[in-house]
């Protein structure tokens, strides 16, 4: 009984120590979002729910619609993918993984024209929002979230 208890204590200690090192593959959601002010705003897409407050406060729009998206599960941290709409393409190139997140190279294309390029270290707990060009009365936003 006593030995079992001692073994359990040691085992639990080891598990607690090891758990912090265990991390699985993660999924990055990348989306092209049109933000607009409308009379009857639609419900925000579920991917944006957690940052709804910040989006509204920072950009001053009441409706956010996804016009293109991609969900990529990263296994090596070296993958690349594309989220596209009819006219825009967001190319994401993961260039490695660290304890904090992934290093990404992002390129926003309008058809074949490169509008914007950025390198970012995307944290697992912190979404990235990029303000794109003005489109009509709205705004194109690029959103990246690790789910």
């Amino acid at each position: 009984m006593g030995r079992t208890l001692a073994f359990l204590i040691s085992f639990v200690s080891l598990i607690i120590g090891a758990t912090s090192e265990l991390q699985g593959a993660e999924t990055v959601w990348s989306g092209l979002v049109i933000a607009e002010n409308v009379a009857q705003p639609q419900t925000i897409p579920p991917e944006l729910t957690r940052i709804e407050g910040s989006l509204k406060k920072f950009f001053g729009y009441n409706q956010f619609q996804v016009i293109g998206q991609s969900q990529k599960t990263l296994k090596t941290g070296q993958e690349d993918w594309l989220a596209t709409s009819k006219f825009f393409g967001l190319h994401v190139d993961a260039q490695g993984e660290s304890a904090a997140g992934y290093v990404l190279n992002l390129k926003l294309y309008k058809e074949k024209e490169l509008l914007l390029e950025t390198d970012a270290k995307l944290s697992k707990r912190s979404p990235l929002v990029i303000k794109g060009p003005q489109i009509g009365s709205g705004q194109l936003l690029l959103v990246l979230v690790i789910q």
């Binding site: 030995r3 204590i9 040691s10 049109i34 910040s54 825009f88 024209e113 990235l128 003005q134």
Partner: protein, 171 residues
């Protein structure tokens, strides 16, 4: 032929009888002194018996006593061996060691987490390493960065990008 000493010892022990006793009594130079000595020897014998108390064994008792002695002789070294083989890790010590290890681990964990916290705060937030707009497409384009602590959102804010008609919002 017995010597005088042998006869004396036998006389003290009351082993002489008959003619042998009569002859020995006659040979004693001082009968009274001899009788007194005999009485002293008997007293001494009785005292020794009483004090030393050696218990006499019957045959079967002696045999079983011997057996017990041998069994003990054999069992004592094995008990010693057992005592040597049983390690320092007794159950209470194992418990104490486990508890102490857990306590040390927790203390270190708390210290490490406390030290890490300031650095982790920055790790929580996405960092923009660099950003550029195409100067040909957007000659007046500028970029700046914000961090919204409320939702830990990092914002790359661009200005001066070419505006596009509403058709570009198509899916």
């Amino acid at each position: 032929m017995k010597t005088f000493e042998e006869k004396w010892t036998a006389w003290l022990d009351g082993q002489l009888s008959g003619r042998e006793l009569a002859e020995f009594d006659a040979s004693l130079p001082d009968r009274a002194a001899a009788e007194a000595e005999k009485a002293d020897v008997r007293k001494l014998g009785a005292l020794l018996k009483r004090e030393l108390g050696v218990s006499a064994f019957a045959n079967e008792e002696f045999f079983s006593h011997q057996l017990r002695e041998r069994i003990l002789e054999r069992s004592v070294p094995s008990a010693k061996r057992e005592a040597n083989a049983s390690t320092w890790w007794t159950i209470p010590r194992l418990l104490w060691t486990g508890t102490a290890s857990l306590a040390v681990f927790l203390i270190f964990t708390i210290f490490v987490i406390r030290d890490k916290n300031p650095a982790e705060e920055s790790q929580y937030l996405t960092q923009i390493l660099n950003a550029r707009v195409d100067p040909v497409v957007s000659p007046n384009g500028t970029v700046s960065m914000f961090e919204v602590k409320q939702d830990r959102v990092t914002v790359l804010w661009t200005e001066g990008l070419q505006s596009l008609p509403a058709d570009y919002a198509a899916k």
